[in-house]
Symmetry: C2
Subunit: 453 residues, 2 copies
């Protein structure tokens, strides 16, 4: 990620940039600037005031500043770049790799990013604009374009020679991407594969008929992460719909994607903003969460209507209001356990309808078993404590039924959302609670009306 | 991961194994066996019956079988290995890399794994036993021991020569790990760093005084994932307490760790088993979830006691039972949003007490803002629909207070758990609900008793 866009502007550039691999020993070659790792520098910056951040970044060598800025939290970064003078900001962006630069500029106001782009070499600016055109939620939006491309007609030793020549410029020269004359990806070879080949063997012959695994630029990040996790790949090539090589998703992006998606699952399940962190300005969080809190309120108003139906029953038997929330709460927790297992399974494994519905059945069984056990517990305790075995039986029956229902709903909601082409996690916890609350109140109060009053 | 333990037993071994990198082109060199990627083979196996799995694995070349088994789901794998004949099973385990073999044997009954170990070369068995002694939740438990170790006194070109010589045997020869005479790690150099060095330069001089980043073998997996994510490392060296090199955590383990931890967060938050998946036998899931469902029941019994305190109030005003769950539900959702943000932040960023409490304050503000907005909404609607502005005011006041409380509790619970040295996610949703339910019922019914009856 860190190979600068404008080598001409930094003749002192060190041959290795840290941040994508082990701590670069090579800063030792020049000895200038702060020897901190860019990620540590970013963490240090985040603890400073805005003024101190501006002073420090302005004083640092551009390249180190660029590496640190690439590692900063989005909200800190936007603030900082707005307060740097334009030339410094453009200089820093110019030192970034094109994909990092595109990400950073995407976060800024358009007017501001246009100003910065106008100060870059026109070729660099054009490359960044191309990358900015991809949807950031897709493979195109995260891909890295600095790769070693090898024509399939050259020989293995020519390939090694070419790779060695490009080593100083390219970030991760561990793979060569092999293309035909139309730039269509035909294979991927590691440096090691190449070193083990007979020197004169043409790359085409090394590849034989193996189809390389790749994704198209419009593949969603979820799918990119799943493919990489499935194959344990270090990098994944990105192609257009004709199979022509566009770039790669590299290992540091993969870690970020997997972490982002894990956070998104958890946050969107409860209706928080998908990219919220503790650094998000609080007012942004309010805006992102409020709509789902309103949905939750409408859902719980429906559940309240169910209770309202049995107004008269509660008037005669206020004790029902004591036990009613227990039924709903217990079924809610049961459902959330099923929900969490399903969401994570959908996130990490390829979707298969058959497997998904088997999993729903599995959750039903678990809900039934736990419901029976807790039903017996509640039956025993309530009979002993209240002396009313009829109340205890109603409670146990409602609990068991609502727990099974909660388990089935918790397991089905993500599958249904997925089948509808939606995010399987989105507000799933909110919908689940609507089911378990509404059904729990209805079952408990309904049975109580039939058998107790 | 895939370099077999017993090269002697597989003279036909291909020089590259897929599964850790791009699809290996090198199967093309021998042409035997199934050309499927090991991860795809594993996915295929999981769709077969146990008998079909046994037949297929027995028929496959040992090495391919080993790669596929390493990719299988734990529960499928244990079942399968128990049903293979012992020699086949031992042959497959013998073809695995030591760390994969240790993981697989760890999952089996001790008697069974002892039998399999007794059938391996004694040197291999010893290495596997050493790895099995590490806690699987730590860096030692996931590390890979097949690395290229370079003495710091050799020169750059000697190092390249040594790396080339070991290329065929080692999985990821992209880094050389530099040690002194006591085997203490003094640095890490990439193949690229080495190629860019003056040939005669001793490695010690290349490294200068840069401290390599490493973790000790007893570092928890959470911390390993955080360090790797922070620095965007591809691999991370593991050392003992004297700094001596033991192995590395490699990039495919990193993806697994990050995915596992993300699942653990989500699952343990709601009291499901930390390593549950849709493949877990359902009876295991019942056992893992039941204890937390019981904790949840005790918690909700406490909330029920709060309602019981106001038995008389509800008897006089049954409508309170209609609105009471809405207050608790809404505060619960607010708290869960805070909870999700905090758990993910604690998982991905270095813990700092100051930052954590700032984040709690931030959640308090968000809860207050959303509480005020929803409080006003409920005040307006309830006044319009019920015509009782006193009831509406009580409801709005209880809702606002409980939402702020929920936000603060949701944000604090993970921090408190962390400060106590516990998993910040563990059952946090269950504890949160206890707070929001109990407080919600108390506030709403308490205010109602004071002002409405």
């Amino acid at each position: 990620m860190k190979t600068p866009l404008s080598p001409a502007s930094s003749p002192e550039k060190t041959p290795e940039q840290a941040g994508t691999a082990q701590p670069a020993p090579v800063d030792a070659f020049d000895g200038q600037g702060d020897s901190r790792h860019p990620a540590d520098m970013a963490a240090h910056l985040e603890l400073l005031s805005l003024k101190e951040q501006v002073d420090l970044l302005t004083a640092l060598p551009r390249e180190q500043a660029a590496e640190a800025v690439a590692e900063l939290d989005e909200h800190v970064r936007v603030d900082l770049l707005e307060h740097l003078d334009t030339d410094t900001a453009a200089g820093i962006v110019g030192e970034m790799s094109p994909d990092d630069a595109a990400d950073v500029l995407d976060e800024l106001e358009e007017a501001h990013s246009d100003v910065l782009l106008s100060k870059l070499h026109s070729k660099d600016a054009e490359e960044i604009r191309t990358l900015m055109a991809f949807d950031p939620e897709t493979a195109g939006g995260v891909m890295n374009t600095e790769i070693i491309i090898l024509k399939q007609d050259i020989s293995a030793d020519e390939a090694i020679h070419k790779i060695r020549a490009e080593l100083a410029d390219k970030e991760i020269p561990y793979y060569g991407y092999i293309v035909d004359d139309d730039n269509v990806l035909t294979g991927v070879l590691s440096l090691r594969d190449l070193m083990l080949c007979p020197p004169g063997m043409p790359l085409k012959a090394v590849l034989k008929n193996r189809e390389p695994v790749s994704v198209t630029f419009d593949t969603e990040r979820e799918e990119v992460a799943r493919v990489i996790g499935h194959y344990n790949f270090m990098t994944l090539p990105v192609v257009d719909h004709e199979g022509r090589l566009l770039g790669i998703v590299s290992h540091d992006d993969v870690i970020d994607i997997i972490n982002d998606l894990a956070s998104e699952d958890m946050l969107s399940m409860v209706g928080a903003g998908q990219d919220e962190s503790t650094e998000t300005p609080w007012i942004e969080s309010v805006k992102m969460r409020l709509p789902w809190l309103i949905v939750n309120m409408l859902n719980s108003a429906l559940a309240a209507c169910v209770v309202y139906l049995f107004d008269g029953t509660i008037e005669q038997m206020a004790i029902l209001a004591v036990f009613m929330p227990m039924v709903a709460n217990q079924a809610g927790n049961t459902g959330q356990q099923a929900l969490a297992v399903m969401i994570r399974s959908l996130a990490t494994a390829k979707f298969s309808r058959r497997k998904a519905w088997n999993a729903v059945r599995r959750e039903g069984k678990i809900g039934l078993a736990n419901g029976l056990i807790l039903g017996i517990v509640i039956l025993t305790f309530l009979t002993l404590f209240t002396g009313r075995s009829d109340l205890a039986a109603v409670m146990a029956a409602a609990l068991l039924t609502d727990m099974v229902l909660g388990a089935l709903a918790g397991a089905s909601i993500p599958v249904l959302l997925k089948e509808m082409g939606r995010d399987p996690a989105q507000a799933s916890s909110i919908f689940l609670t609507a089911v378990t609350d509404g059904a729990g109140f209805f079952l408990f109060l309904g049975l109580a009306t039939l058998f107790l009053v």
